[in-house]
Subunit: 667 residues, 2 copies
């Protein structure tokens, strides 16, 4: 955008409008964080009046610059900005409802509550790491659709806490390695944290650290608008991502609390608030913004209108086919061919059953998915040969090959998961990323945000049980499956063979409102399915794989993934003993539990004996088998050894299943 | 120790013995990681022949230098060293059982399987971050008991992966801030990761990064023993922690695979193995170590004997009281006074019931615990005023106040949890550390290691539900309680009032074989207990708080923490409607489920209607209430708003409990 000259006095009135609204919002809510909005108001004002490409009237314009408030606790900053710039739907009344139920102004910014909020933030470090993904997606999409449609930058406002969290290291190292020069982080360097001066817990030279990670970094006075602007302009020309440390005073303007942790996370109180307004020269009552100031702000909110109009013209000039594809991609619409492709793949597998690990089956599925889904960005946290995530046709994404769709995330599970959120939020891409299932623990905070935001990212998590064998208990997930099932809106799929793996991929890709974990085996699994049905039998979470023979079932055996073949073998052993058992494959326990009562009851069945088999903890299975059901699985951490021996050691065998059934039959 | 001169040829024979055993061990196991032991053999040999203070005969000598193999996948390195130096219990036969069930040589080093292994490693970054805690504990213990008893260093061998993980940033920032000059990290800088050359995913200048975090850092040739030794000697004199980047060749000696990712994680294969041995001048069959080499190694293993003897003399010279206290502390024995103190505290609370948040109740408990438990190290990840972890009598632990027992961990939950593991492993201290419960997700990998290793660390996790209100769903745990309950050996306690909080602290502190999460409320809770009984009623996980009145119970109401008062209120409402209900307080669901069947059944009772109330997901509760039980709680993420409104919004109220009971009564 072109920058109208803004003198210091005008700038201060604009910035003070943010401060004023932030103070009033927090005071009215009787809770919240005035310190950051007051301290960072100058930085934000420079961004929104001089730097950002945006049209407040259309916060979803695809080619807008992204602004991520990583320091989400300072949410009143973004709410004030959205109001001041005239974003539709953000009225003064919304600011007055700060931190109230169902308001557009929740305690931390939630992208699903508020237009103009790019991503949910609050858990520290996430915004910064998510922005790295946004900047990656911008480069990828530009490489594919051209700079006429895709040419924007990603700005982050980060706090000390964002930079202390370990995820920031993963994110900045990844950004530096990828030379994401359109990523510009403004650090609200106020030297204060909740416990007091930052110096009681930190001595890091952040500029040097960022430089060590391949960033440009400089320091400015965070209350000098021209200095901030000049630094951003320099950053825009850099061939590296940039950190601008903006030295600020937390709670700027509050006579007694500014510069102290008292300004951070609680209302200023009536007296201090009044004194702050006086000191800042703010007149008028609570939530009042002088008409000329509001008018000026609204003008800045609209300066991107012409640019957006031009962009729309360029979009309209595209061929219908190209425009359609661009829009499909931005809308995360699944390609029409996907379902057919996967059904054909299932039929091929039914015709030629393969005994493979489900991680390999996942690669086979990817091999057919990739050609029909150009938006799929895959990757791994340095476990490519183990996760089988680099299917045919993938090329590495590097600064020199921005069309590459395979990301070498490095040994950075957390940074990977956050970047996947950012790639997805940006639009234009779907993402899949691999690690070992046990290391879901490293990525969990970002996975939770994907679930909360409803982002359809896919985690390819292999080596999903003690079946990984020799690497031992640190690498053997036993509680991760349960812990992920417990997370709202997270879908966990643990397929039993190649056909179920294809169905799992279909479910994951057709899901557009939440993330999916694919829990995949290291070890080979014999096929349990030989039907090439078009129906996705895994879709309800479970289905009867094998009915009882010769009469009503006396036993229902439930199993997921690699243990389905154990249930199948147990069924046969039981038949030899004259007991009729059915086998229910449960690729997704929580999906089964979410079915309506009738569906669930029909699948679970009414056999008097219910046994579940899963090489993981029982936690959660009582919802299927009841408190008196039998469970053959883990109750402790695993052990190092060849996997077949480990299974025997922990008693996860067909014989143990039979024993559990017979005990209940006789007892 | 004094350093006998070791010439290059002798050094190489010593180092090649490690390489040889590592190759053979991996080959025999048909799995494992030869690359690191071969590449880092020179570094390790320098440490174990020239640097470390240790007596192989007594790997538990409290004043030994610690050696942490953070790159746990290179486990054959430590196993070979333990054998070569003559650590009791590590025989050649054990090396031959590498990666076999129940061997002392599991895939990754497990401190509970193998004497001489300081900490379980394998999940990357953990060893380094744990070592930071060890170094902190050394300084703390030395400040208390003097340098005559406590004067050792902590050495870490770390890999590229350790340094890429975000936790490394938290750990090194903490170590730099605390100026832990006795911490020396040797980085096996081999430039290779699983996906290939490190350059495909990383460009960080690690030396610059460590320097930015307050470390001394230098680079040496990792195959030049004298250069390595000289660098370590310089590090020993530094007033900062030190990183020594040791440039090595992964799989050093393997003619074809050295320097490539093929050397990393799989057996070399017979041909390459033979060629490597030939190239290195190693003769003899598999697992054969030349007699003179073994003898030399055993000599190095014993050089610390005299020093240990002297130390024992110094220990024996202490007063019986001081020696007893030192030994009690090292053994994690709970002070005799603790139980009495907490019972007295309970009696006082019973006499003067207080309505407080359980986080405040936790502070009240700490106020009485601290004076009788000088070994308790508390701290918070920058939420001290929220977690209430800085009770009376705590002083900050800083370089200038090493006797301080309160650690300002900064906004580093993961680093905090790992450091707590290290402090506990070192001996002499118990640890408690605070953050919000939702941020357990950030710390989870280290918490899992505490559970796996059986370390009695205590997590003070406040703001334990939607009851935190305005901060909204990113800060409101709904699935964390379930996800932690699912973890083997993790105890989760969610007390309902001040008396239960005192009981929770007693359970946590008296537990010496595993970690405990204290899930504590932000909001005030009215007392539900007014008995000052000496019995710890929370010990079995649950107990009948209120019996049914006027006959056999028709309804059992189960609740934990802040929802117990809701269950109590519902019981009264049900009584008004003529229904008899009892209330079972369940501070620990998983402890209840672990009771023997009779105990469990007695507590759960046989009322036909079972309803559980918890402001969290149902996952796991079916084990108590069965599939047909009623659950009043959460099934989605939370929302921002004043907490009483949030509770109503999600229908977690006495009225909802009554409705669920009546529905079942009528249905």
């Amino acid at each position: 955008m072109t920058t109208p000259a803004i003198d210091r006095a005008q700038h201060e009135r604009l910035a003070n409008a943010i401060r004023s609204l932030a103070m009033d919002g927090v005071e009215q809510a009787k809770s919240g964080h005035p310190g950051l909005p007051m301290g960072a108001a100058d930085v934000a004002t420079v961004l929104f009046t001089r730097i950002l490409k945006y049209d407040a009237a259309e916060p979803r314009w695809p080619d807008r610059d992204r602004f991520v408030l990583s320091a989400g606790h300072g949410s009143m900053l973004i709410y004030a900005l959205l109001y001041l710039t005239g974003t539709p739907g953000m009225e003064l009344d919304d600011l007055k409802k700060f931190r109230q139920l169902e308001s557009k102004t929740p305690g931390h910014p939630e992208n699903f509550m508020t237009a103009g909020v790019e991503t949910t933030t609050g858990p520290l470090g996430q915004g910064l790491a998510t922005a790295v993904g946004m900047a990656m997606a911008e480069r990828m999409l530009a490489a594919e659709f051209g700079r006429k449609l895709v040419d924007h930058k990603t700005y982050v406002l980060a706090s000390d806490g964002d930079l202390m969290e370990g995820i920031s290291q993963e994110a900045i190292a990844l950004a530096g390695h990828q030379k994401l020069n359109k990523l510009i982080v403004l650090w609200d360097d106020n030297g204060i944290s909740i416990d007091g001066p930052l110096s009681i817990s930190d001595s890091v030279d952040q500029l040097a650290r960022f430089k060590a990670c391949g960033w440009k970094a400089e320091r400015v006075d965070g209350h000098d608008p021209d200095a901030i602007e000049a630094a951003v302009r320099r950053a825009q020309k850099s061939n590296k991502p940039t950190l601008i440390a903006c030295k600020t005073v937390i709670g700027f303007g509050a006579p007694k609390k500014a510069g102290t942790s008292k300004a951070h996370g609680e209302p200023l109180g009536a007296e201090e608030l009044a004194a702050a307004k006086k000191a800042l020269g703010i007149t008028g009552g609570p939530f009042e913004v002088a008409a000329d100031v509001l008018k000026a702000w609204r003008g800045f909110g609209a300066t991107g209108f012409a640019e957006r109009k031009d962009w729309n013209t360029r979009l309209a000039a595209l061929s219908e086919r190209k425009r359609g594809e661009f829009e499909r991609r931005l809308n995360h619409a699944v390609p029409a061919k996907l379902a057919k492709t996967l059904v054909a793949h299932k039929k091929a597998l039914a015709a030629n059953p393969v005994t493979v690990a489900t991680r390999k089956a996942s690669e086979l599925a990817l091999d057919v998915i990739v050609p029909v889904m150009p938006e799929l960005v895959s990757g791994s946290a340095d476990l490519t040969p183990s996760n089988n995530t680099r299917a045919k046709g993938f090329e590495d994404f590097t600064p020199k090959t921005p069309k590459g769709r395979y990301v070498r995330y490095g040994i950075r599970e957390h940074g990977m998961a956050a970047a996947m959120n950012g790639i997805t939020l940006h639009g234009g891409f779907r993402t899949a990323g691999g690690t070992f299932l046990v290391f879901a623990d490293y990525a969990r905070p970002s996975m939770r945000l994907a679930a909360l935001m409803g982002l359809p990212v896919i985690y390819v998590m292999t080596h999903d049980s003690i079946g990984l064998g020799e690497d031992g208990p640190t690498h053997q997930p036993v509680e991760q499956i349960a812990s992920l099932r417990a997370m709202p809106n997270m879908r966990v799929l643990r397929p039993a063979d190649a056909i179920e793996t294809a169905e799992a991929w279909q479910i994951a890709l057709e899901r557009t409102d939440g993330p999916t974990v694919l829990a995949l085996s290291r070890q080979n699994l014999a096929p349990v399915r030989t039907d090439g049905t078009a129906t996705n039998r895994s879709a309800k979470g479970a289905y009867e794989l094998l009915a009882a023979e010769g009469g009503k079932a006396q036993v229902s055996l439930f199993a997921s993934g690699s243990e389905v073949e154990i249930a199948v073998a147990a069924r046969k052993l039981l038949a030899d003993k004259g007991m009729r058992a059915r086998v229910v494959s449960v690729p997704s326990l929580e999906a089964l539990l979410e079915q309506d009562e009738a569906t669930r009851a029909a699948i679970i069945g009414d056999a008097p004996i219910k046994i579940a088999v899963e090489a993981a903890v029982r936690f959660g299975w009582d919802g299927v088998i009841g408190t008196d059901g039998g469970f053959v699985g883990m109750s402790s951490f695993g052990a190092s050894g060849p996997y077949k021996e480990v299974y025997k050691h922990f008693g996860i065998t067909p014989e143990a299943v039979v024993e559990a059934a017979i005990k209940r039959h006789n007892g």
